[in-house]
């Protein structure tokens, strides 16, 4: 979540909406990503950062993500419904600009906190399978 300022969070209701996820270069081998990009890290507080396709494109989301030096070599997408099938509700979470980060009105997150880490690991695996089936969205 990068410490940016949150405005408000509303649960996303359109199951068809695609949410973009950035993949770090160390989490991809050949053409296949690890399931780890689909799992919140300890500092994420059980919230997986995403960008809403209804408000940005995969290309723009990637450009914004990497604009301050963060690394991403691939953008994958999952629908709100696919997160929902894993009982992971998604919320809009537009971020205001800070000294460190530009504003990101398309920011959203999937909430993992109702599941323990053991469950989260297998949910990340299922999400990776669905993202792979959809294919890499950028570049």
């Amino acid at each position: 979540m990068h410490g940016s300022l949150r405005i408000m969070s509303d649960q996303l209701a359109d199951d068809a909406e695609i949410l973009f996820r950035q993949v770090h270069p160390s989490f991809i081998q050949g053409d296949e990503p690890s399931s780890q990009p689909f799992l919140p890290t300890p500092k994420d507080d059980n919230k997986l950062s995403l960008d809403r396709a209804s408000l940005t494109t995969a290309l723009e989301a990637h450009a914004l993500f990497t604009s301050n030096g963060r690394q991403s070599v691939a953008v994958y997408g999952l629908s709100v419904g696919e997160f929902g099938a894993e009982r992971l509700p998604c919320f809009s979470d537009p971020l205001k600009a800070t000294v460190e980060d530009p504003a990101n009105p398309a920011h959203a997150y999937a909430e993992y906190s109702m599941h323990g880490i053991a469950q989260q690991k297998n949910k990340a695996k299922r999400l990776k399978q669905k993202a792979l089936a959809r294919g890499r969205l950028h570049p």
């Binding site: 770090h24 296949e32 399931s35 780890q36 500092k43 695996k125 399978q129």
Partner: protein
Amino acid sequence: MAEEHKTFQLRYVGARFDGARLPLDVISDLPAFRDLLVSYAKDRWRALNHQRRRLPKGFDRGISFDLVAIEEGSAMPKLDWSRRILQETLPGFADEMEELVNNSYDELVAVIDGVANDRFPKALSPEQIGALNRFGAGLREGEQIEFVGSHGTDGNVVFLNTARRKALITRVRETYDARYESTGRLAGLHEGGRLMVATDRYGEVPVEIDPARIPDFDGNIGAEVQFSLKIMLDSQDAFRGVVDVYDVDLIDADLAEDLDRCRARVSELRSLPAGWHDGEGRAVAAPAADAAGALLSKRPDLASAYRIFPTLSGGLTFEFETNGWDLSVEFDPEGKPEIYGVRLDGPDEIEPQGFRELDAEFLAVFDQCTGR
């Protein structure tokens, strides 16, 4: 012996024995167990009969066991000793023999219980050492053979495991036998039927094979081979020789290439600096990289499927699809493995299951998950 039959039961404990499964490579324990009892019985008989220079005719044959069942729990082979055979081979000695064998069993259990408490027999006969060296030789780390119904000095059932075998055998002789399964590189071959295999753990190991198989290996110096051996180690676990060759084969060129790719990947990830994940992420720890290398050696067949990634905590994770599953083996920074996964075409899951090390218990679960 009031009853027509007497039974001895052992319990094999370890994931590989679950569901009353007794792998063929441990079946040879059963005749070794019987030979152990016979060797103790002979010693007892001699001690009780100083004046007689020879054992009664039929002594050995009278102690004849049949495997009559393998019961659940993990696997409990049941050995039946028939009174009828005993009476036929040693007429008039049946009751004395029963007592002798019962006492021999108790003595054997007491010897193994003693090892757990750092008490060792002053000496063992060559026959006892020979049988002991065969009994439990197929055990892997984390597995044990329990003597059902026994009670040790701590009140618990007495068991034999790899550590106790090693301690007992090397106390009375210099070496002991153990199973060794891994991969290495073909370093040389001799027409007479010997391969020299360079291994990471024991250097060059001579592997005797049927000379007719030499042409299969000819022209493949430097190629990767996988093998399953019984080897002789000393009390410091230094290699002394190969006792038996169960299996040795060239790994095909594609598989060798995949293994090289995996090893290069581990090496590449090992060089990631701390903070590799946009400021987060510890450097990959050496024990995790070592454990990853061990998995590649022990289960090379899946090298083409393995995708290897760092973890933020300084470990490594193998992700791969096989047998209808998307599986992960995650090594923490200490090299302890955890396995989990999801079924690709259904809701089934394997919840994360952790292990102390890459031991037999882990490999048994790994093999079950991967359908080996």
